[in-house]
Amino acid sequence: MSALYDEIQEIRAQYPESLSAVMPALQLAQERSGGWLPEQAFRDVADALDLTPAYCLSIASFYDMFRLEPVGQHLIEVCTNISCGLNGAQQVVEAFESELGLRAGETTDDFTLRTVECLGGCGWATVVAINNRHRLRVQADDVAGIVAELRSLELEVTDDHLDA
């Protein structure tokens, strides 16, 4: 059996009932599948937990952090809830849109940009989650620098890949 199968069994052993392992198993499968859940991931999780792929999909489709479509190498999520909104979140979104040439909700190979509900950093608005790490007090003026930073990371990864 695959490494994923074995790891899911370890997760399963933490819970009195194996169904509880479905969310952490999907989280692991998503991490191993480039940040989203292709059909194969549902089959793998279902196999490991004696569930149907359809059941696993019914869970994934409920929760915002499970992604049913491919995401770019970098996932940029801008909070646009009340406190971030009052502090210029919309301008931050627009700055990312123009810097990346994307509109919120769109994906390229390199980037996915989306707006999200409250990330729980209201006092440090605007909060932007970049690959699930929260940047605080982001202003529209900071966006070009953040994007340049992410693009340079990308180059490093590519270089490593070429060296190998």
Partner: protein, 442 residues
Amino acid sequence: MTTSTPEIVFAGTNGGALTEIAAYEAAGGFEVLAKTRTLTPDDVIAELNASNLRGRGGAFFPTGRKWSFVPKPDKIAKPHYLVVNADESEPGTFKDREIMLRVPFRFLEGCLIAAHAIESTHVFIYIRGEYEAEFEVLVSALDQMRAKRLLGEVTIVLHRGAGAYICGEETALLESLEGRRGQPRTKPPFPAIAGLYASPTAVNNVESITSATSVMEIGGAEYAKLGVENSAGTRVFSLSGNVVNGGNYELPHGFPLRDLIHDLGGGIAEGRALKAVIPGGSSTVILTAAEADRVTLDFDSLVGAGTAIGSAAVIAIDDRCCMVQLAARVSQFYQHESCGKCTPCRVGTKWLTNILQKIEDGRGTQADMDLLVSVAERINGKCLCPLGDSDAIAVMSYFDKFRDEFQAHIDEGGCPFHGSSSLDQLLAPVAMHIHNEAPVHA
């Protein structure tokens, strides 16, 4: 101004974080756990009852009483569970994450104290999926505790959420933890009798659990002296919005709201005027600037002003904000987060949002004002959980207190702010579950 009240939740941190077990022990950590384990569960609950500690998640239910509702193991011969609600997602609220980041051991010590009180050896911490750094701090803290064999017979499992506000509602949280879609259950039975896996379960918020450690440390009677009548102890207030110094402030209950905003918070940013304050998270009734000037941050004062302390999340709003836009954005949030189980909420939150958007866009009529009220009334109190109610209550409070502004949208055939509102064109969340059209910019 500074406050003379010592920090209770963040005691010993000196503004930093106690993430190394040696540092926490040097500050007296885990002494109270050892002491508590020599007490009977009933004695622990009696101490909590004496403290008047009430739940910090939003419902303000007495913590000791909640624990006392969990039957003794000989009454229900099933495993008992402690489930910690670390799914902090109420807009405006960001206190639990700071507690987990800065005093993870005080929080985990509280988990072990609570487990002892309800005679449980199984603890699940349901932590919001977006809190990755906080999750890692807890993983590290638990490893350090296991190395010192502090857990005893107790197992603590960290369970990560996956992005669903509704899972902060305790029965939805339990459904989610059992591996289902996070949709609320009917009550009764209450979790104390039939909670996780239909077994006796206490569900407590992170700050409640962390405060329980402090209660056992300083004693219930001493703890009860902090704060004001009916609102004992300190509270970690999350301050955000149009203030100069947003952030978390641990203060005694009864602290004047105006001092939090104008003194500790540094006042309203850019010299603007305060227009309104949401005092306890997005689900609570808004206060006008004049009302906010008069209240103190405790249960009785805020109930007296027709609102609630909720999750102690204070959002200050300045005079640039259009209240119809605010209402539409808040309503979009609840629409997005509705789990879909109860029709009044699933359909009603969408209706509220649509009507508000229509009014904001200048297409609203006088009849839409009545329709707004009518829809809100048809949500409120008609669902399994308070999510839909929260939308109706919040929106209706903006409508009631700023009716002139709503009316101006109708009379002028558009937003009286003419594009200058701070929330103008604010984008709602973009779903990733469907092939959705990219949002259209005006």
